[in-house]
Symmetry: C2
Subunit: 450 residues, 2 copies
């Protein structure tokens, strides 16, 4: 539905740009949601991006920037004056400014921050000190906190003055040393008697994360406990900021994209809209790695060249064994990698998962082995060859079960993203084993095959 | 961090179960978060699941049930009395009851609903009438709505009485015909003068979805516009319910899992913890499909059996061309499938993406072609064979670029999940083209190769 809404907005904007109707375009942009404008901007050539950006109202301009991602963001900001960008960012909450400047080249980011209001710029600088991918980098320093001995009336007064924007759903409660001790959802404040002490309303426990918690961990916490805001504390449990669920959703999308694309042998942050130059290197690296693993598999075939020379039929069937090993490892590794990402694949279930995969490898292997043996027999009329083929296939699917389970887990243990266990790496094992078992068996029994 | 928290809870529970310390176990369970308890339950044998469930307080028991997924949920509920289950569910909001009963066999679900409080059961029945995967099925019928002529004081009174649980962050504003016309975040109500009319505070626009909107669409809306609650309306824009961001996050996770696993040739809802019997059929289906595509590719090789018989070296290199086509299609298709899921891959960018992929196919193809030709030359000392190999590889990577872009898009147009364009289907093209181009060229020039 809103897919077409963005589409319609895009058509209107392109039309008005073409006709040079800048005033009408400014009106259209004023009415549109910044998220939609940013989606349209991504599809425009850079000179039109600049034109559209300059027609935006200052607050919308900042919002549009914070919705854009690298490389579009870099390109657009590079074509604008630093003063324009800083003016737009001055209107934005500091955590959203961080989203923008962290993607820019250092020099440009500094230039823009220098031109911004001092207080905002300092806040941004402080957030930028936290490592990328941690809770600290993700949090907003705006929140409402009241001391535990305050009354409901005092807390309400606090909220009225705070004006933290639309993200204020909870009032956090801190003790005399600023330690986070609980929170109160706004609607409970509303329902309470104004004289009630806040300490009587607050939750007894509060889920929080420390500034250096990994963002994936924050996402898992939000998902597991259905949070809409996560407080961030320092090592002494002093409240430093909060992370809204909207930022967590962005993290979840990024992580899902990363997992999907790494499994497919592509960079985790690649998008369909990237320029070919920008992704050439990463694509090439994986293709070269694949080339070398393919040569490795080919060298196994090379060992059996004389068998193939005497019986060329072997060459016909040999890729089937490898291909079946490939699908089997991919299936197993995919479920295991996703299980790791979802936190389901813990060491305590390893044995159960491995046993399950071995059973699946064996049962589907036998089923497939019988089918392929029958096909081979009908095709070539050789019982022994059909048997060898079926046997090699079962064996290879058992290898696939073990390799597909253990390699992603091993990568996880060595703190390497298990999604890198993409088909490229893992299927090398089944290619090699497949060629070896089939051609090896055939070579041992070649005198009965000719 | 909380990974180990669940782990610790799991160890404690298993220990207390083993020692028969039911009273202490009940205390531990009382202190624990239902989300953590449900994660521990998933790893227990069913008789222990029942024991743990019976030690839970009634409200925790309902929450634990609503956190469980098929097949664990079915198994546990199947081992409990319907009366126990209905008692636990009576304490839950109706949308969470829906989450449970929709996963159960019809008869059992009806039995449980019959035993529940009548009002709650009716609410649940109404929600169950909406199709699975739509906004209606996802929504909660609890929300706070006030007429537009109400004052802030009246709205506040309304909230105090409503007690909709922790999900009340917005007050929705409706006109005299119950049409949704806007909303007011709670903190703005707090900051306003009690006599202000609500119509002066409400937003001018409100993002809403209709009951039959697909849940993926709801997720896209939430992500794009940073919503924490989405109102659901009927065709006349009458407000029927709201969807909280926590439910949307669950949808996003499910959809990401589905995409990842379908790309890997596995069922979208499979988990590492499934029993082998439960997934055997789906795994086997894909493996059989792969078997037939592999036989198809093998039959192409069969056409050239006599060439291979005279020059067995062809069999050594032939899988390299296919394998390189495989990685290239997988890379391209992965980015395109993810682009479709994220809404980036619109028809207006098709030409740009196709052109990018063709350029990448050509450039990486040439780079890889040169490397493999060099390797082949050093290995076998045949210039012409090396050239044929390099050429076939470039050609196959161009095929991969086109196939990897167009097939997922075509599937999308025919309303088939593009993620089904998994390696299994698409790489058949590059396998066939790879074998055909390499062996075909070699056969044409075979007299110069021998």
């Amino acid at each position: 539905m809103e897919e077409t809404e963005t589409g319609r907005l895009g058509d209107t904007i392109k039309e008005l740009l073409g006709g040079g109707h800048d005033e009408r375009l400014a009106n259209v942009l004023d009415e549109a949601h910044p998220a939609d404008v940013s989606r349209v901007i991504r599809e425009l050539p850079v000179e039109d991006q600049v034109r559209v950006f300059r027609l935006l109202s200052p607050q919308n301009a900042g919002a549009v920037l914070s919705e854009l991602d690298d490389p579009i963001l870099r390109e657009l900001v590079g074509s604008l004056d630093e003063a324009e960008v800083s003016r737009a960012l001055d209107r934005m909450p500091s955590d959203e400014v961080v989203n923008v400047v962290e993607e820019l080249p250092k020099e440009q980011a500094d230039g823009i921050l220098d031109l911004m209001e001092e207080e905002k710029a300092e806040e941004v600088q402080e957030l930028l000190e936290y490592r990328e991918g941690t809770a600290g980098r993700l949090m907003s320093p705006d929140f409402v906190a009241v001391p535990e001995h305050a009354s409901v009336a005092q807390a309400l007064e606090h909220i009225r003055k705070a004006a933290t924007g639309d993200a204020a759903f909870y009032v956090y409660v801190v003790d005399d040393h600023d330690h986070l001790v609980g929170f109160v959802p706004l609607h409970r404040l509303l329902a309470a008697d104004p004289l009630t002490p806040i300490s009587a309303l607050r939750t007894q426990e509060v889920e929080s994360v420390s500034v250096d918690t990994d963002q994936e961990e924050v996402a898992r916490l939000v998902q597991r406990y259905n949070l809409i805001q996560v407080p961030v504390v320092d090592p002494n449990r002093r409240l430093l900021g909060t992370i809204g669920v909207d930022d967590v959703i962005d993290v979840m999308r990024e992580e899902a994209t990363e997992d999907i694309q790494r499994l497919g042998g592509v960079g985790g942050d690649e998008t369909v809209l990237d320029q070919p130059e920008a992704v050439f290197k990463k694509r090439l690296v994986w293709r070269l790695i694949n080339l070398f693993t393919a040569v490795l598999a080919a060298s196994v075939i090379g060992l059996f060249e004389s068998s193939i020379h005497s019986l060329a039929t072997l060459a016909v069937f040999m890729p089937i064994v490898a291909s079946m090993g490939g699908i089997a490892t991919t299936q197993t590794a995919t479920v295991v990698v996703r299980g790791i990402a979802l936190g389901d694949m813990t060491p305590s279930v390893l044995r159960r998962v491995l046993w399950k995969e071995i059973r699946l490898g064996f049962t589907t292997g036998v089923a497939n082995g019988v089918v392929i043996a029958a096909i081979a027999y009908v095709w070539k009329g050789q019982v022994l060859l059909a048997l060898i083929l079926g046997l090699a296939l079962v064996f290879n699917m058992l290898v696939a079960a073990v390799v597909g389970t253990l390699i992603p887990l091993a990568l996880k243990i060595f703190r390497i993203d298990p999604a890198i266990a993409s088909s490229v790496i893992i299927t090398t094992f089944t290619d090699v084993c497949g060629f070896f078992s089939f051609l090896g068996l055939a070579t041992l029994l070649i005198r009965y095959l000719l």
